[in-house]
Every structure is written in C-alpha cells, then in structure tokens.
C-alpha cells in the first residue's frame, strides 16, 4: 500500500515542469520550485567542479615534502594557502551547505508533502539569486586580491592579512542570507502546506531531516552573519571587538564562529541522513525500522548541535571547565547518531536488498560515516583531542563525514531521483563504476591521513617533515581516483540526459509521495491534491 492511491493514471505525462514553458527566460524567472532546484543543481555542480579542482591542486602540491622537490614550481606557499582557502570556502559555503537542501529539498519537499509549491515561491527564486550573488562575490576575490585565511576567517589573521577578506566575508554573509531564506521557506512549507491527512508522523524521513536542517539554518546563520560583518568592520574601522591590539578577544570570535559553524556541520549532514533513510528503505523494499526514532533523532541532533561548539576549541585558550563541559555534551550527539546507524542497518534485515548505483552509494555512506562518526568520538574526548587537534586526523575525520557522508549521499540522491527529475534513467553500469572509483579513491586518500594525524602532521602545511612523505603520496594518488570517479558520475548524468531510456513514474518501486506522480512531475506536482492515508514506508 502506498501513501496515496496512485494519481498518475490521470496525467498524460506530456505536460511536465520541463516543457510547461519554454525559453531561457522562463527558466531564469521561474517560481516553480522544481526548476529552481534544477538551477541550483547546475550551479552547485559547477562550483563542486571548481572546488574539486582546487582540492586536486592542494593534494598535488602536497605530493612532495620540500618545496624544492615539488613537481609544479608555480605552487608557492602563498598560492598553496590560497588554494587551500578556496577549496574550503567553495566546498563549505557554496557546495555542501546549500547542496542537498537547495537541490533535493527544493525539488522534493513540496512533492513529498503533496503541495503545489513551497510556501513562498518568489522568495525561493530570490534566495537562488542571492546565493548566486554571494557565489559571484566569492569567485570575484580570485581576480581581486585573492583570499588566504582558510574558510574559518580566524582573527586576528583575517584582520592583518593583505588579501581581500572583506569581499570574501561579505560573500559568505550573502550566501548565509540565501541559506536563511531557503530554511525559512521550508519550515513554513512543512508546517502549513502538507496535503490533507499528511500528519507530521506520516511525512517521509527526508522531510524530517530537511525540517531539522532548516531550524538550524534559521537559528545559527544570523550569528555567523554578525560575526562576518564584525570582521569587515574590524578591517575597515578597527572597532576592536575581535582585535587583541584594540582590546578584543580572538577566542570570543571563535565562540561566535563555531556557534554557527558547528551546527552548520549538521546543516550539511542531516539532509544526507535523510537521503540515506529514503534510499535504504526503497532498495531494501522494507519499512524503515524505527521511523519515530530516526525522525526524533534528527531533531535531537539539531538541538544538541547548538550546545557543543566548544569542542573545536579545546586547545584554543578557552577555560578548562568550558572544555570539559563541551566535551560531555558532545558525547551526547553520538547517541542519536548511533540510533540512526543501527536503525538503517536493521532496516535491511529480512529485506530484499538490491544493489543499484544509488544503494551502493548509500552503503558507501554507511561504511564511511561509521568510520567518520567513530573518530568523531575520539576527537570529542578532551584528552585525546589535545594531541589530534589541528592535525591531519581532524582533516581525515571531517572529510570522512563531509565527503564520505554528504557527497556520497548527494551522488546517490542524484542517481536515485534522476528519473523523477528528468524522466530518464541513468546508466546503472556507469553509476556503479563511478562508485567503485569514488569509494576506493576516498579510502585511499583519507585513511592515510588518520595515520598522518596520529603521527602528528599538522594541517594546512605546505612544507612538511619528510617522514610524512610516503603516506602523503598515497593520499594524493587516491585523490586522483576520486576525481576520476566523479567524472564518471558526471558522464553518467550527461549520458542519462542525452540518451537515457525513458523512466516510468516509479522505477524503483518506492512508496513515498513523489513517486506517485508522473516523471517528470507536472507543473503543479499533482493533477489533484492527494489525500494521504498511510505512512511513507508501507511495504507490505
């Protein structure tokens, strides 16, 4: 039994959101959440490509320990610092934070709720352009003065450096604005636009995840906004709030910064978890195990995420008491995360598991996220973190969670919802090949970095001790594998767009609402507003 008695029979399948209106202008001025999602998808994939190139350059520069051995003499320390900063800024603010909510959230949230659109369609379009403006500012710094502060903009370095920090922080501020507007839209949509019968305990887990994410976006981003504004005020006027020369406390900056940036980590990972819930249930063809537990654990993670930011600052000069306080609260995040992991795995128990490309990515997520999550516990314990803080161990940990978690889910999501978005199937073989490369490449790249971190190699180093060289070389080779894997995924997407075979309304046999309308969905999502009678995962 699916969530609604299927409504697809009534649609002809000819009129859909892609051909509803024609011409470039109809796209640029659209208020249709599905078209906005596609525009986001294109921009985010472009920026992902740029950020990825920077990542490859960074890894390439680290192939050799000493500057005189580096195979590409163009990369000097200042260029390396810029590459490292651009990789961080692009990937965090332009790819991973907006990524899943703006693309899949925009496309699917209204459809999954049985709504015709998000609550504020024009605001939705505006937020896309605000995002683009921010991104343009950020990319603009490449041509005006560059940026070398890393994505964290730590004061007082960001006050003293001669690069164009003001422009970069304004870019991040603008993109934060877009993120607030998107989050606001989703919260109201979830509250107000659910189809009749669609109670909060009947919405799909992906919607729960996006909902929890939006709450964090609303509550955390403004603090980042004021922090970034203060940095520019600091540079332009010297107000002294974060500048120790003028009486400010740089550690207070870190408090403010991580008050946003730690919850931001969950802005990134929660939607990915939502995707995984959908993928695992569909490809195991089985009811999700512990719906309530997974849904509430999303909210629990969102709530606790605001209480733990100080674990980024155990050695930064915050008091010992605060360190211990943040450490114990951080441990609590592990509990809802563990609940989710166990529930996903039990969903497969006595299921009917099919390893299509999206499911492979979901499995990859579980594998990498397990490792990323467990090492997170190491870093959350004060005594261990003193040794690991700001070493490659941290780099490996958050790449396991961010890349291994978010990007695996993102790519899996693309392969899963591609038929719904474009009405065509992607090649499963290409999808699987890309997974093999991404997954292997990922472990080859980042597992050695755990060892490097344990050996004590600090992060953001251009030149490093020769003892670390072999592992760095393995890591660099791995990064090429990842790059190749994502290229194959891109080929799979383009091949699907150009020559993919036609997809039915529900190629995977899923039960959630978005599969009950035709592929691609019509302009108004459903010909008749559906009435929801059952939960989202009723595989009986």
């Amino acid at each position: 039994m699916s969530q609604v008695q299927s409504t697809t029979q009534t649609t002809t399948g000819h009129d859909n959101y892609l051909n509803h209106e024609k011409g470039l202008w109809s796209w640029l001025s659209t208020v249709d959440h599905k078209r906005i999602a596609i525009m986001y998808l294109i921009s985010i994939l472009t920026f992902f490509l740029v950020g990825g190139i920077f990542a490859l350059l960074v890894r390439g520069a680290l192939f050799n320990a000493k500057p005189e051995d580096k195979f590409w003499s163009y990369i000097t320390p200042d260029v390396y610092n810029q590459f490292m900063s651009y990789h961080g800024i692009i990937m965090v603010f332009m790819v991973i934070v907006p990524g899943i909510p703006a693309v899949f959230g925009n496309f699917l949230l209204p459809v999954m709720l049985g709504a015709k659109d998000v609550a504020f369609p024009r605001l939705n379009l505006a937020s896309y352009y605000v995002y683009l403006a921010g991104a343009a500012l950020a990319v603009g710094t490449l041509f005006v003065g560059k940026i070398d502060t890393g994505w964290t903009f730590y004061t007082p370095y960001s006050i003293k450096t001669s690069t164009s920090v003001v422009m970069a922080v304004l870019a991040a501020f603008t993109m934060g604005m877009a993120s607030i507007l998107t989050g606001l839209n989703f919260i109201v949509t979830t509250h107000k636009l659910r189809a009749p019968g669609q109670t909060m305990n009947k919405i799909p887990l992906f919607v729960w995840a996006i909902y929890a994410t939006s709450i964090i976006q609303i509550l955390a981003t403004p603090v980042l906004g004021i922090t970034l504004l203060l940095i520019s005020a600091e540079r332009l006027l010297g107000v002294g709030i974060f500048d120790p020369n003028l009486g400010g406390d740089p550690v207070l900056f870190q408090h403010f910064f991580w008050f946003y940036s730690h919850p931001a980590v969950y802005i990134m990972i929660l939607p990915a978890m939502g995707i995984i819930s959908e993928l695992i249930s569909t490809f195991s063809r089985k009811t999700i195990f512990g719906y309530t537990a997974i849904a509430y654990s999303s909210l629990a993670i969102a709530a606790v995420s605001f209480l733990v930011w100080g674990h980024h600052m155990f050695v930064s000069g915050q008091s010992e008491f605060a360190g211990v306080l943040f450490s114990i609260i951080t441990m609590l995040v592990g509990v809802p995360t563990a609940i989710k992991l166990f529930n996903w795995i039990s969903t497969m128990y006595k299921g009917s598991v099919r390893l299509d490309a999206p499911m492979l990515y979901a499995i990859g997520f579980l594998f990498l996220f397990t490792i990323g999550g467990l090492t997170g516990v190491w870093l959350a314990s004060t005594g261990m973190d003193v040794h690991f803080h700001d070493t490659y161990f941290v780099v490996a940990h958050f790449h396991y969670v961010m890349v291994g978690g978010v990007l695996m889910a993102f790519t899996g999501g693309i392969f899963y919802w591609f038929p719904k978005m474009f009405g065509k199937m992607t090649s499963d073989t290409l999808g699987r090949i890309s997974w093999v490369f991404v997954f292997t490449g990922f472990n080859v790249t980042f597992f050695p970095q755990f060892i490097l971190g344990a050996m004590g190699m600090p992060r953001r180093y251009f030149e490093y001790h020769p003892a670390y060289e072999p592992l760095n070389q393995i890591s660099t080779v791995g990064s090429w594998l990842i790059g190749f894997g994502f290229l194959v995924a891109l080929v799979a997407i383009i091949q699907g767009l150009v020559a993919g075979e036609k997809a039915g309304a529900n190629p995977w046999g899923s039960k959630t609402l978005e599969w009950q309308t035709s592929s691609p969905p019509p302009h108004d999502n459903f010909p008749i507003t559906p009435t929801v009678t059952a939960g989202p995962y009723e595989y009986r």
Binding site: P121, I187, L237, V239, I241
Partner: protein, 242 residues
C-alpha cells in the same frame, strides 16, 4: 505574495494555498521566522557588548558619559511613537480605511526621518571630536578620563586587566567601536524599514490592500516593531548604563 485583486474587488490567494487566511498565516509565520534571525543577529552584538562591559567597565562608564542622553531620549520617544503609528497603519488597513492608513504610515516615515536626522547630528558631533572606532580615534582627553576613572576606583575593585592603565588607555576606543557598530547597524535597519514602509504606503494608496488582504503591511509592521524593540535595549545599554 502573488495575491491579486480581481476586478470585482476581491482578492485571490496564490494557487498553492487553500485560502487567503491560510496564506496569511503562512506568510506571517515566515515573517516571524525572519524576526528570529534579526534577534539573533543583533543578539551576537549584545553578547559581545555584555562580555566586554563586564571586563572593561570603566571604558563603558566613561564612554556613556560622552553620549547625549537628551538626544537619545528624544530618539527613543520618536521611535516608540513611530511604532504606534505603524500599528495604526495596520489597524486602518484592517478597518478598510486606506486614507487614514496612508496618513499613519506617512507619519511613521516622518518619525524614521527625524530619528535619522538626530542620529546624523550625534554622529557628526562624535566624528568632529575624534570619538570614532579604533583606526581613526583621536581624542586623548577621553583616554585620559578613562585612566583617571580607574585611578579613582576603590583598590579592591581593580582587576589585573584594569590596573594596566597604559593598556586601558590604548583600548579605550573600544566603546566607540561598539557605539558605531550597534547604532550603525540599527540605523541601517531604520532606513531599510522606512523604505519598506514607503512601499506599503504606495500600495495602500493605490488600493492594493484592504481588510481581506494586508499581509505585507503586517509583515513590514513586524519588522518595524523589531527595529523599535532593538532600540529599546540599545538605548539604556549605550546611553544610560555607566
């Protein structure tokens, strides 16, 4: 949002809502969510202010004595009055009286103008005296007063930070950093708010709103009251609490 008035004088809600009131509730919830972000954004500044105030009390004490309480009080009264007229603007829209609503909204904009003019005089006075944030600060008298204040403090109230008078002298401009950033950001909001009020004023005058549909007026009103609300806290913190 995309509500339109049809020829027979009724309003149509956007296609994805069930009814006008459904749309109104949703829009209002959206505005409230946005207000939360405003509160948190200013909140960041307030947190920083409170922390530094408790560490460097003398700077803030002497600093606030350099502000003109009279001007601050007038501005408070002006802003409160503007909040009142804004509420009236909504009220008259609810009662389908566009003429009175336009007057009330125009009064609100006038109040915003008065507020900004007074602010302008305060600013130019400060800038003239060199009482500006760190980079451009040029008023040794203020720094000396801070040092004198510390020297006159009872010895048991002195912390090691405060006893370092050379350092305190150096960081004394911090107060004006806060003053200009906080009032500046607030002033920016006043100007944005005035612009928004002008927008709903024109729409009201053109008969775009009425008892059935006045969501934008309500939304702009909420924004304006938040601006007022923030000033209600800013005023005593900057001008009065020494």
């Amino acid at each position: 949002m995309s509500t339109v008035k049809t020829e027979d004088g009724h309003f149509h809600h956007a296609h994805h809502f069930n009814s006008l009131s459904h749309q109104y509730d949703s829009a209002k919830q959206g505005v409230w969510l946005f207000m939360v972000t405003e509160i948190l954004m200013f909140g960041g500044l307030f947190v920083a202010y409170l922390i530094y105030k408790s560490i460097y009390a003398p700077i803030f004490h002497v600093g606030s004595s350099y502000l003109d309480v009279k001007m601050g009080s007038i501005n408070t009264v002006v802003l409160i009055t503007s909040s009142f007229t804004m509420a009236l603007g909504i009220y008259f829209n609810q009662k389908n009286k566009p003429k009175q609503a336009v007057i009330a909204l125009a009064l609100t904009i006038v109040c915003a103008g008065i507020f900004m003019v007074i602010k302008y005089f305060e600013y130019t006075h400060k800038i003239h005296l060199g009482l500006v944030p760190g980079k451009f600060f040029n008023n040794p008298e203020f720094q000396q007063k801070v040092v004198d204040f510390i020297n006159n403090m009872p010895i048991e109230n002195l912390t090691p930070t405060l006893s370092d008078t050379a350092h305190m002298k150096k960081i004394a401009p911090l107060y004006f950093g806060f003053y200009f950033v906080m009032t500046g950001l607030h002033g920016l909001h006043v100007m944005i708010g005035a612009g928004l009020i002008l927008w709903v004023l024109i729409k009201t005058a053109n008969g775009k709103f009425g008892a059935e549909y006045y969501t934008p007026v309500e939304g702009v009103g909420l924004f304006w009251h938040i601006v007022d609300l923030i000033w209600i806290y800013l005023f005593p913190l900057l001008y009065l609490v020494g």
